[in-house]
């Protein structure tokens, strides 16, 4: 027995194994101690650092939720600007590669092939190009495959990555190999009416940023507040995803009437094209602007200028410049100036000398101050010598003997100079500021100019300046200043702050704010106002503005022809400001043509004709009753116009439902 045991011991035995196991155990203990030391060091050296790294990783989980920019609609609910959901298609190349690589690193591009095929079939992207990208940057986690994908297009991809419900497996496109694709949602701005009211609306190319017009002025109200989504660990140690929802932007309801706006723009464009390349190269005028507003509230009904641009593609200037010119401008770095010139709103940003449109203002000063009674008569010999200068009347032959009404109707400079000398410097300056000339009207549009440095001050207004100022030379105003002032002159003397937005609606449609007409002050008495209306009516019935009379309506107004600086090179700004109806002004329409493209620019008829065209369209549209007899020829013309308005409107309604404004464009051309 003992012998046997010894032999086994020699060969190795349980007891021997136990000893070696003990050594083994000792080694294991040592390893554990070593690992414990390692653990201590990891913790000790990097405690806070690693904690921060983890926290910074967590931050990736939070993301911004874009707010939807509010709409801009016209007085009748026609959408002028809106936002729609669009998506960027993002590819996570790393996820694709990882999915194709098994734990042992074997690579099999099943997922890549499936995903690229799916992307190609839905978004028609170049598979080879994308594949090349994945291979060159396999670690990329954010690659924009396609931008600006509509919701419909995006949702056609969803079946590939959505697990089918029970019973739908067979018809489903679902492919578990399609992965690494996700969609980034954001909003893009689009303008269903294309170029309609472009200067007035302005545009917003990227989230939160807006340029020009209503978009810029009301940017904060339109933008809304972006939300945030972030995950954190709750007390129950569950990841809670907290969403601070985005607050969508508010909607602006404007006083603009899209139909009216369209009529106005149509006639401006007609003029620009009619006189295109007439006396010089270029459109019918450097700029043409028109403001239509309500006389007794300052609400803007239409505000337009030409050239215009498509709000959906504001950087496209190919309509106005050849490719060579654009290239040249790029080289000379003047492209920005070209954009500025195109995008600005001529009606509020440009200043010019108003010319004879100033005359009703000068007369109103005289009547209001009592220096002119209305019963005076003035003798015009064609010129007046003031402080040694011979200042001519535009009718160099002289207008003869004129009363105040006749002076306005014939637009006699001499009579006005005599009136201004009666009024005197101090009263003129008082009323200049009373009529808000040179100051901002505070219209709710971005980019309104302030011309206070371009109007007279006590130091600059000398005798001869006072004389020329009476007929609107020597100082600068903006269209909106004149229109707002003239509205006050003819509406009984009440100066209203012009405005474009009448209501601000919440995203759900409830009214956030009503913007009522704001009467700032009474600048003249109603008696003076009545007299000015009477004088201005004479301009159309017996004076320089006779061409402006639209069929069926009696209107009043005042022409203006102002020589631009430098004097003497034959360049003029011609204009016509009008009110309708004649006896009880409701509508003010102001047309300014900056240097018409004709050989002799010094003729207000260009402005009066455009005014007539516009008024003939808009007065019946506004349901202002006709008071005057209409000839057969005029009746025929009115019918034609009414028909064309309907076709335009149908086109517009079609267009507002579509993204691309093809039909409207065709109609315009």
């Amino acid at each position: 027995m003992e012998q046997n045991r010894n032999k086994r011991n020699l060969k190795g035995s349980a007891q021997d194994v136990a000893i070696r196991l003990g050594v083994f155990f000792f080694i294991v203990l040592l390893a554990f101690v070593g690992l414990s030391v390692r653990l201590i060091f990891i913790t000790k050296d990097n405690d806070t650092e690693y904690q921060q790294r983890i926290l910074s990783q967590q931050a990736f989980d939070s993301k911004t939720l874009n707010a939807k920019r509010g709409e801009i609609i016209d007085a009748n609910g026609t959408v002028l600007a809106a936002s729609k959901e669009t998506y960027n298609v993002i590819l996570d190349a790393k996820q694709l590669i990882d999915a194709d690589t098994d734990i042992n690193g074997n690579y099999d591009p099943k997922c890549k092939t499936a995903t690229l095929n799916a992307l190609e079939s839905i978004f028609s992207i170049d598979k080879g190009e994308l594949n090349a990208y994945i291979e060159s940057v396999p670690s990329s986690q954010y690659y924009i495959v396609k931008r600006n994908v509509s919701f419909d297009e995006m949702s056609r991809f969803l079946p590939y990555i959505t697990k089918p419900k029970k019973g739908e497996e067979e018809t489903s496109l679902y492919d578990e190999h399609v992965c690494g694709v996700w969609f980034e949602k954001y909003y893009t701005r689009f303008y269903p009416q294309g170029p309609l009211a472009c200067d007035l609306i302005g545009f917003s190319l990227s989230t939160g940023q807006a340029s020009y017009g209503l978009e810029e002025y009301y940017n904060d109200i339109l933008t809304g507040v972006s939300g945030r989504q972030y995950g954190y660990l709750s007390d129950d140690s569950v990841v809670e995803v907290t969403t601070v929802p985005a607050v969508d932007g508010n909607t602006l309801v404007t006083t603009i009437d899209a139909n009216l706006q369209m009529m106005v723009e149509k006639h401006l464009k007609e003029f620009a094209l009619e006189y295109k390349d007439n006396a010089r190269e270029g459109f019918g005028a450097n700029n043409i602007g028109c403001i239509v507003l309500k006389a007794d509230s300052g609400e803007i009904l239409a505000m337009a200028s030409y050239p215009n641009f498509d709000l959906n593609d504001p950087k496209n200037i190919s309509e106005y410049y050849t490719e060579e010119q654009i290239k040249q401008m790029e080289e000379e770095d003047t492209l920005k100036d070209a954009y500025d010139a195109l995008w600005k709103n001529f009606c509020i940003t440009d200043s010019y000398e108003p010319g004879s449109v100033m005359k009703p203002f000068t007369v109103a000063m005289g009547l209001e101050s009592g220096r002119v009674t209305g019963n005076e008569t003035y003798m015009c010999n064609g010129f007046l010598e003031v402080a040694g200068h011979k200042i001519h009347c535009h009718n160099t032959a002289g207008d003869g003997l004129l009363d105040v009404k006749g002076a306005v109707a014939k637009s006699c400079n001499v009579a006005l100079m005599k009136m201004s000398s009666a009024i005197g410097k101090d009263i003129f300056l008082d009323y200049q500021s009373e009529f808000n000339l040179g100051l901002k009207t505070n219209i709710d549009l971005a980019g309104e100019t302030r011309t206070d440095s371009l109007v007279f001050t006590d130091a600059t207004l000398n005798e001869s300046e006072l004389a020329t100022a009476s007929f609107g030379q020597g100082f600068n105003v903006s269209m909106i200043q004149m229109a707002a002032g003239y509205a006050a002159l003819v509406n009984g003397g009440y100066y209203y702050e012009p405005h474009v937005v009448s209501k601000i609606l919440s995203p759900s449609g409830s009214v956030v704010k009503n913007i009522e007409p704001r009467m700032v002050k009474q600048i003249v008495s109603s008696k003076t106002s009545d007299m000015i209306v009477d004088y201005c009516n004479a301009v159309v019935t017996d004076g320089t503005g006779w061409r402006a009379k639209p069929a069926g309506y009696a209107i009043g107004g005042k022409t203006g022809t102002a020589e631009t600086l430098p004097r003497g090179n034959g360049e003029y700004v011609v204009s016509f400001i009008s009110h309708a109806p004649a006896d009880n002004p409701e509508i003010i329409c102001y047309v300014v043509i900056d240097r018409p493209n004709v050989s002799v620019q010094e003729d207000a008829k260009y402005a009066t004709i455009v005014s007539r065209e516009i008024l003939t369209d808009i007065l019946p549209y506004l349901n202002i009753p006709m008071t005057e007899a209409v000839s057969d020829k005029e009746r025929e013309e009115l019918l034609q116009r009414e028909l064309s308005i309907y076709t335009n409107r149908v086109a517009m309604e079609d267009a507002s439902g579509n993204e691309v404004n093809e039909e409207a464009k065709e109609n315009e051309q």
Partner: protein
């Protein structure tokens, strides 16, 4: 003869409750941690069912416990008969992975589907290798014609382990499991035979080989920064490069390791509190599996990590104790194999998690999520309990526990025997 029969009857009554309690504690703790680490990803992946992984793990643990008790009540002698079959069946199951029964998950084909259950045969192979190696050792040592320090002996003992490791590598392309299987066989070889310098020589040669390879990578790519050379040496090398500097390879192979270190480091001494890990929220891949130790350290701090290591020390000590007190050589080798398996896997796992070793997928025994792993680990523990229950004890373990003196005496006796044996050995040569 009659005495022998009486002895046997007595033996069956012993049950190692200490071992059972340590095991149950580890299992329970593992389930808690599996729930903590997996509930977030489970609720994402399984429609808000945060209990998905826990449920599966709980079922596996139950099956494992049943298996453990079943195995521990088998007649001990059966194992000797069973060993070749266990090995053969496990290898066949492993080969089935390549058959249509094979099942692929997470890009790796490592499972087979049988009757609605997916099993990872590599885990069964570990038991098979332990049993067959023990069987071979006994067989060879009972033969007088084979010297147990010769290369022939070494080769035969290692053969089933190396074959199984090779198959695992070939069939499942799972290097880490192959290394563990090889490690178990080698550990058993060293335990089985005294002063087997040739075996140590093999070990040293292997270590030098690996060391040279790592040094080569370190000098050629890590030092020079020439990543392009990587394609020549194969993708596994990138793991080694990532091991040198995980931050540099944070986009690729270093990511998991780096996240694991973040987890451990941010836990501090006392941890963020149970369930409050942030790394488990999708940042640390395989958080409930290979990387569970990192989350334990993040949630329970160094304290929790040490506690787990201590539990494993206790477990291994109990296994060692059983091995120490077993007179039966075969039983001894079986327990030694299980000891080696658990020790190697725990050490490797913690090494990977703490970036002491290049990243490779090794789970933490009894704690990591994984059905096959837990079922067959518990089966192995059943074998250990069986040995404790039935195998021939020099002295009743109950007596030993009560009186340490007896144990010391026993050890002294053994040392005496070894001296004697040594003398005899020298005489022989």
């Amino acid at each position: 003869m009659a005495e022998a029969v009486r002895k046997r009857k007595n033996k069956g009554s012993y049950f190692d409750f200490t071992l059972l309690f340590i095991l149950l504690f580890l299992l329970g703790f593992g389930l808690v941690m599996v729930y903590s680490t997996s509930s977030y990803s489970a609720s994402l992946d399984y429609n808000g069912d945060g209990l998905y992984y826990l449920r599966k793990q709980l079922i596996s643990a139950m099956i494992g416990l049943v298996m453990m008790f079943f195995v521990s009540f088998l007649k001990f002698d059966i194992y000797k008969v069973l060993a070749p079959f266990a090995y053969g069946i496990s290898v066949i199951l492993l080969l089935l992975v390549k058959s249509p029964l094979g099942h692929t998950a997470k890009g790796a084909t490592r499972w087979i589907y049988i009757g609605g259950f997916s099993i990872q045969p590599a885990e069964i192979v570990k038991i098979g290798v332990i049993m067959i190696t023990a069987f071979l050792i006994i067989y060879l040592q009972n033969r007088d014609d084979i010297d147990n320090t010769s290369f022939k002996y070494i080769f035969i003992v290692l053969a089933p382990g190396i074959l199984a490791a090779g198959l695992i590598l070939f069939v499942t392309r799972n290097l880490s499991t192959a290394v563990i299987v090889g490690g178990i066989a080698f550990s058993m070889l060293i335990m089985s035979t005294p002063r087997c310098f040739k075996a140590y020589l093999l070990l040293i040669l292997a270590l030098i080989g690996i060391g040279l390879y790592v040094l080569f990578l370190y000098l050629t790519i890590h030092k020079t920064g020439d990543i392009g050379a990587l394609s020549k040496v194969g993708f596994r090398s990138e793991r080694i490069l990532a091991w040198f500097n995980p931050e540099k390879y944070a986009d690729g192979k270093g990511y998991q390791t780096l996240q694991s270190l973040y987890g451990i480091g941010s836990g501090g001494v006392w941890g963020k509190g149970l369930g409050k890990s942030m790394q488990k929220l999708g940042f640390l891949p395989e958080a409930q599996n290979d990387m569970i130790f990192s989350i334990i350290c993040e949630e329970l701090g160094l304290f929790g990590g040490f506690a787990i290591l201590l539990l494993f020390v206790l477990l291994l000590y109990r296994i060692l104790d059983i091995a120490t007190l077993t007179k039966d050589f075969f039983g001894n080798m079986l327990v030694g194999g299980v000891f080696a398996h658990i020790a190697i896997q725990v050490i490797f796992n913690v090494c990977v998690v703490t970036n002491v070793m290049p990243n490779t997928g090794i789970s933490l025994p009894f704690i990591s999520y994984g059905g096959s792993s837990i079922i067959f680990l518990l089966t192995e523990m059943g074998i250990v309990m069986n040995v404790a229950r039935y195998a021939d004890f020099t002295i009743s373990p109950n007596v030993v526990k009560r009186t340490g003196e007896v144990k010391r005496a026993n050890l002294k006796k053994r040392r005496g025997m070894r001296v004697k044996q040594k003398e005899e050995g020298t005489e022989e040569t």
